[in-house]
């Protein structure tokens, strides 16, 4: 990875953390979920600060250039983050379903009481 690329990656990571903290401050995303994305940013920061890590990844997986390794790490981590959030969405869908059913059943009880 060239020094120039490292500078751009550093700027990108700083902007990324600024955006994350802004979204948390404005309560557009909760801190709990921002932390998942924060971990992803920290991994990139580590790869940026210690470029030797990328070389090691290249050697281990047989990747020819560190930039490709960077992309590979990026896609893998984003993939896992998406899996985590798919789980979150699924659990929330279940909670919403239960709430909707409970609300409808309560409404039915109120209707019955009003009729009595």
């Amino acid at each position: 990875m060239t020094d120039r690329l490292r500078v751009f990656v550093t700027i990108g990571i700083v902007l990324y953390f600024l955006l994350l903290s802004l979204l948390v401050k404005k309560k557009h995303i909760s801190l709990r979920y921002a932390l998942v994305w924060g971990v992803l940013g920290l991994v990139f920061l580590a790869l940026d600060v210690f470029p030797g890590l990328l070389v090691q990844i290249c050697d281990f997986f047989g990747i020819q250039t560190p930039v490709f390794a960077l992309f590979a790490v990026f896609f893998t981590l984003v993939f896992f983050v998406l899996i985590v959030f798919t789980g979150v969405v699924s659990r929330q869908a279940e909670k919403i379903r239960t709430l909707v059913q409970t609300a409808a059943l309560l409404e039915k009880r109120i209707m019955n009481m009003e009729q009595d």
């Binding site: 919403i96 379903r97 909707v100 059913q101 609300a103 409808a104 059943l105 409404e107 039915k108």
Partner: protein
């Protein structure tokens, strides 16, 4: 014995009046509740205007969420047998006594009204029958239960498994998966012959385009279904 028929209805304005009238013709021995799944047509207006017994979901949950609401209502109100009836008028209430009989006699926990025992009445298209046959084979492979008409929504369930379904009911395209989950939980499942009609108005929710998704989703759901702990 208290019997409840649950009728899930989504945009069934054209069918719901007749469906409920048919149910009422069974006499006072069977109560009913229509689950209006946030219909966008005037199903709700019809339910109100006719003073039908209904529950209206504020958000569309799909057939699984609707049916599960019916089970919750049935359990809350102490029904002994809960029957599922489609809101499109395909299910003739005259078979209610047939689907209830094995439960009353203690021979079964769940009874499925099947089109494929006497092969009378509406039989569905050839391709759908092949799909149903495949799912039936898959269910037999998974849990050893033999049910020919796995997609039939005409079912009767005793109070023990009504509680089970109130707690765990599969969502999108739930019928085959419900058989597997109940079977894995130890339910005795029987089939009795019924004659079904073709829906008079409106379209089935499963069109040709969705069929591939249906087969993949339901097959995976059957294979991945695991025994629920809370029975």
């Amino acid at each position: 014995m208290k019997i409840l028929a649950i009728v899930p209805a989504y945009n069934e304005a054209a069918n719901i009046e007749k469906t409920v009238a048919n149910l009422k013709s069974c006499g006072s021995s069977v109560d009913y509740v229509v689950i209006n799944d946030c219909s966008t047509d005037n199903t709700l207006d019809i339910l109100k205007a006719n003073d039908f017994n209904y529950i209206s979901l504020p958000v569309n949950l799909g057939i699984g969420g609707g049916v599960q609401t019916g089970y919750k209502y049935g359990v809350e109100n102490g029904y002994d047998i809960i029957i599922q009836q489609d809101g499109d008028g395909q299910h003739d209430p005259k078979y209610i006594k047939d689907v209830c009989a094995p439960i009353i006699n203690g021979d079964a926990d769940i009874v499925v009204g099947s089109r494929f025992i006497t092969n009378e009445g509406f039989q569905s298209s050839g391709t759908r029958r092949i799909g149903i046959g495949f799912l039936s084979w898959l269910i037999k492979l998974k849990c050893g239960t033999v049910v020919k008409d796995v997609t039939s929504g005409y079912r009767a369930v005793n109070n023990k498994y009504s509680l089970f379904f109130a707690r765990n009911y599969p969502q999108d395209y739930p019928e085959p998966e419900a058989i597997v989950s109940a079977s894995l939980a130890g339910a005795r499942i029987k089939e009795v012959p019924v004659v079904m009609k073709e829906r008079e108005y409106g379209k089935s929710s499963i069109n040709l385009k969705r069929s591939i998704y249906y087969m993949i989703k339901v097959s995976l759901a059957i294979l991945l279904c695991k025994k629920e702990s809370d029975i």
